[in-house]
């Protein structure tokens, strides 16, 4: 990210994560509601990215402490 930009607060910084999480839940939710369990596993690859993102944030916080 742009190093010259002001460091934003937690909410603003995590907007992309929240956006993906909202869509991820919507996709999975609609597939469950429609009973499309055959394609529900299509959310898994993006789910791995969500986990990797959380881990990366946690590791960077640990390193700062």
């Amino acid at each position: 990210m742009n190093a010259q930009a002001k460091i934003p607060n937690f909410f603003i910084r995590e907007i992309p994560f929240l956006v993906l999480l909202i869509f991820w839940v919507i996709y999975a939710g609609i597939e469950i509601i429609r009973g499309r369990f055959d394609i529900l596993t299509s959310v898994v690859p993006t789910g791995l990215f969500i986990i990797a993102y959380i881990v990366a944030r946690w590791v960077s916080k640990e390193n700062k402490d």
Binding site: A5, F17, A56
Partner: protein, 209 residues
């Protein structure tokens, strides 16, 4: 309210949040380039793909979408920039990189491509199921929901082409307004490049089955 209209409006609102995030964390020049360039790319590309029969790819279901711009849904004006922005941000955080700053740029683009392919899985399976997209050809390889496997390659390629073009234009030593205009105009180059990228995959898999 129709469920899909609600989804279209939610997607537009969430893209607004991403634009806000970009303006706050990456600056105005980057934000104008990224999202205005993405809008032009989406507008032109999706209209071309939906209307040029010779490409033999797909069209959009008129029964599903409510908001249109030409032959393409309005949401496609924000779709590419929204997904590529997520791919860029996630990759930068996971790798500790900075595309524009030149820190691990190549690796950030590569991981962004993997993210895009992952996103293609859920988005296109959903799109085929709903259906949002009407495929015009019978694919040789499929993923979830009988979606052509080509979409994983296609999404990854769009991320590669878009972010590389962004990096090149962003580094030009000219006024921001000219960089924005050049990046918007570069869609005319990005679209045929991406169609070529897809054609390579289709050709390579045409011998299967």
């Amino acid at each position: 309210m129709d469920l899909f209209l609600a989804l279209e409006l939610i997607a537009l609102a969430l893209t607004g949040l991403l634009i806000w995030h970009s303006a706050r964390t990456r600056g105005a020049a980057f934000t104008w380039m990224f999202f205005l360039g993405g809008a032009f790319l989406g507008l032109i590309r999706e209209n071309v793909v939906a209307q040029v029969a010779a490409l033999n790819l797909y069209s959009y279901s008129p029964a599903t979408f409510h908001l249109w711009i030409g032959a393409a849904p309005l949401i496609l004006m924000v779709f590419w920039s929204y997904t590529i922005y997520l791919s860029l941000t996630f990759s930068e955080v996971i790798l500790g990189g900075d595309l524009i700053g030149g820190k691990r740029s190549a690796r950030v683009i590569l991981l962004a491509m993997v993210f895009m392919a992952s996103y293609a899985c859920l988005n296109e399976a959903f799109a085929s199921m709903y259906p949002m997209v009407l495929w015009k050809f019978k694919p040789a390889l499929v993923i979830w929901g009988q979606t052509p496997a080509m979409v994983l390659w296609g999404y990854a390629g769009m991320s590669l082409i878009f972010l590389t073009a962004l990096l090149i234009v962003y580094k030009l030593r000219i006024r921001t307004v000219y960089r924005v205009m050049i990046f918007c105009a570069s869609g005319i180059v990005m679209i045929p490049l991406h169609l070529l990228w897809i054609a390579i995959f289709r050709l390579a898999t045409s011998f299967i089955g």
